[in-house]
């Protein structure tokens, strides 16, 4: 079998040779960045020290900013010092950066102090993610005029390739448009998590971006590139992948090993195969995927449930969340995707092996994680915490089905006491669970509530974190460092387009 050959190769060959091969494949799939020039029709004349103005790019973009500085009356006989702030949302225009108290490095805040020596064109060298640009003249010897503002937007997505899509529903149409914009702006040299902050390849984000991508820009090459990059990563002692990798200017593995994200690598590979029937890539990456599933199998406890022995677990940014059952659900969900692909390519032996593990895990989950009396996944393992997360993953893992699944999901989502998701990443899987349980109306309502809620806030792109009851929530201790265009929030377009929510009317295109 092709896969067995790869596994044998993997065992026999020098690991550095394999890594080189994966990196070479990643390089071959480096996207050409498409450029769009945004030219706000503004001229800021006769500016003096203390003058401030705001440029509105009309939408959220990722790219490079330049302008022309000229003298208003007399030649500028000293450098002009200005601050330039790039804001993803209007609110950031007024934020006070001096009181920043987040855990992440303050340097993520997109503000520069520049000194411009000469009249003429000035191009800022860094890449920014912004809808608004706020300029503040800090020091100038004379009045100046700023004009010819240009924002050269870049994306690995080819907007001309965006699949045509029509929808009658205004709200869902708006959601689709914002979701596509989010995805577009996160598609760069890799599927970035957020173009403002982190700006790197995370597995969890990659999986959701890839799904949304198949229904929109359909850039297959970029998905392959990202999978090969993770394949080249250094895994921990158990074989768990790092949650992220860096690739610019050199490839470098991340140092946070996430079990659930490693499983999502397997899901992403399965999704790619289902979408493309690309057996070459599947076979190339088969050894990595298989070994991750085998690592999980090896960590099972006496009850036959996977443990967190091999690494950390993310699930969601939700505070205080108990993650044991959710991880089991993700494992089962991944096994399900894996078996489906193995059966599809005719690898009956492996399919049978992993399907047996799947059924064993489902049975153990039902036995040890489900409280039939309560009709909920409330269990000792998770300190009797009732969370949407656990219910979502148990449904997606196929532990419960039909009316039982419907009931569990409805109850946990509507319960005032249950733990709810904080991130659109987790919201995605809850919508997916609702759809799997056949709760199409509830799924649509959920989409309107979460993604529609962000649209009502004026979003041009979807946020990293969205907690309707706590709009200032930040996993990092300060809202100002939150990413307001975040990859894992882009999947509303996937649901809307795949499941046909709404009816034809709106057309999501880029000019």
């Amino acid at each position: 079998m092709e896969q067995d050959r790869m596994i044998n190769d993997y065992k026999k060959q020098n690991i550095e040779d394999i890594k080189s091969y994966y990196l070479q494949k990643a390089d071959e799939n480096l996207p050409k960045l498409n450029k769009t020039l945004i030219v706000p029709n503004v001229c800021a004349s006769a500016l003096n020290r203390g003058d401030t103005f705001v440029l509105d790019l009309g939408n959220h973009y990722v790219g490079y900013f330049s302008f022309n500085m000229w003298f208003a009356d007399a030649y500028i006989d000293a450098p002009v010092r200005m601050s330039v702030r790039f804001c993803e949302t209007k609110r950031e225009l007024e934020d006070d950066y001096t009181d920043y108290h987040g855990e992440l490095c303050e340097s993520w805040l997109q503000e520069e102090i520049i000194n411009v020596d000469f009249p003429g064109e000035y191009r800022m060298p860094r890449r920014y993610a912004a809808r608004y640009v706020k300029v503040n003249i800090l020091r100038t010897p004379k009045k100046i005029s700023l004009s010819d503002f240009k924002f050269e937007a870049e994306s690995g997505a080819d907007t001309a390739a965006l699949k045509p899509f029509e929808i009658t529903d205004d709200e869902l149409g708006a959601i689709d448009r914002v979701a596509v914009n989010t995805l577009k702006n996160c598609m760069q040299r890799v599927f970035e998590d957020g173009p403002k902050r982190d700006r790197r390849l995370w597995i969890g984000d990659l999986r959701l971006e890839a799904l949304a991508n198949y229904y929109t820009f359909d850039n297959i090459s970029l998905v392959k590139r990202c999978l090969y990059l993770f394949a080249a990563a250094e895994r921990n002692e158990y074989g768990i992948l790092p949650g992220f990798v860096y690739e610019n200017p050199i490839f470098c593995s991340g140092s946070w090993f996430l079990i659930d994200y490693s499983l999502m690598f397997v899901c992403t590979l399965c999704d790619l195969y289902s979408h493309t029937r690309d057996t070459k890539t599947f076979h190339d990456l088969y050894p990595i995927a298989k070994s991750i599933l085998d690592v999980l199998d090896a960590t099972k406890d006496d009850e036959g449930l996977v443990t967190t022995r091999s690494g950390d677990v993310f699930i969601d940014w939700c505070q205080g969340l108990k993650k044991g059952s959710a991880l089991e659900g993700i494992y089962l969900y991944t096994l399900d995707r894996w078996c489906e692909v193995l059966e599809s390519i005719g690898n009956e032996d492996d399919a049978a092996l992993y399907r047996a593990r799947l059924e064993q895990g489902r049975a153990a989950s039902r036995k040890y994680l489900y409280d039939e009396k309560k009709g909920a996944f409330i269990n000792k393992r998770d300190e009797y915490q009732n969370s949407v997360h656990t219910a979502t993953w148990m449904v997606l893992g196929g532990v419960v089905k039909g009316n039982e699944a419907k009931h569990i999901l409805k109850e946990v989502i509507s319960s005032p006491d249950s733990v709810k998701p904080f991130t659109p990443y987790m919201h995605h899987y809850t919508v997916d669970a609702l759809i799997k349980a056949g709760l199409m109306q509830e799924a649509e309502k959920y989409i309107r509530n979460i993604w529609g809620g962000m649209v009502k806030m004026g979003a041009d792109t979807f946020f990293e974190v969205y907690v309707p009851s706590d709009p200032d929530f930040s996993p990092y201790g300060d809202r100002k460092v939150n990413s307001m265009c975040h990859a894992w929030s882009c999947t509303a377009t996937y649901f809307i387009r795949k499941y046909g929510f709404g009816k034809p009317l709106h057309n999501t295109t880029f000019d």
Copy 2:
């Protein structure tokens, strides 16, 4: 006559055509910038937030700074924010820029806050003047290492062309070396006044740089370029030149019209002719020079002395200085240079005309500006102020000679009550007057006192302002904005080399 033809052309032709011609000649003489790579052998390892270090370039240079940033342990997962300060002198390393209170734009202070996104080479885009570079890590997510520091120095001077020079005297040797370095670092696209601040072409600086240049790098082309640039400048309603022009990125006239600097344009042209016998350039610029002298003649008062009706007068940064007599002296000094050149080229008619004016001016100066009883140039016109400035220019203008001149200069320089020069620009002319009066020992002592004083302070280049009794003096209200490498301070080398102070031993060269 050739000059008459130019004057007629000047009157007949469209003034814009003439300006274009001058600018074209200036362009033809744009220097190639010579590059020298300074590589401090330093690696700053495992830097964390708050860490600071200083690079010593070993000498004062003008150019561009770059370095390599790399991660110490783990990949740098956020931009690294640092401040980079460029210091001409050691003292500036510890200056507090937040309390800057000078009149000039604070943006002249050479400090940047940069955000570096990726490991690898980082090149700062602006030009700096510095011996020391101080780096302060403001924000970093991880420990970083900085290495491969490079300072790419630039100069319009070709150090290989530096005239060989030997001198036995240690102090004068050091003074010569620092003076040559000052000149070298001010020689850029034009003879700049200071590479840290202003960075532009002033007539007063040009004249002194050109003189020093003839004895050192002897870049004739750069002198011509600068004269043509001033020739293209817009003069005021009287015909007085602006004290400075800009030429990058476009030519632009300054807006401060200085009578004494306009006269220095004439002197610079005469010096160039005397040094090169280049009649073409002299004839090209003859109309400008002649018209400036005629403007002065037209502003004479009833006593036959020039007035300040046609513009401002600089003379020196000395506070409270009365400038009337000094301006007359500069006028006479210029007429003297002018007549010498006219006679040398055989323009007898013009020579006679201007020599008559010179003699008339000298007589009037002696009559109205000199107090024979006091043996000093103390007069009503200057509110009976006794200044080194006036004495200097009266001697240089030939109003007094011989023992009389010697006595006047000695008295005014040694007097505790006289007004003394603040700038090496004015010090230059005082030394020149001492030499003209035959006071060679006093001239040497003056050079050792002023330029030697700066060398004792550790100067790598000579300062814009040097007041031995008030080392913190600034014409701009804050020492921090003073230029510590200033063109008009470079002429110690001119005196030492021209008049043979000291004896052979030291050799001023650049490695």
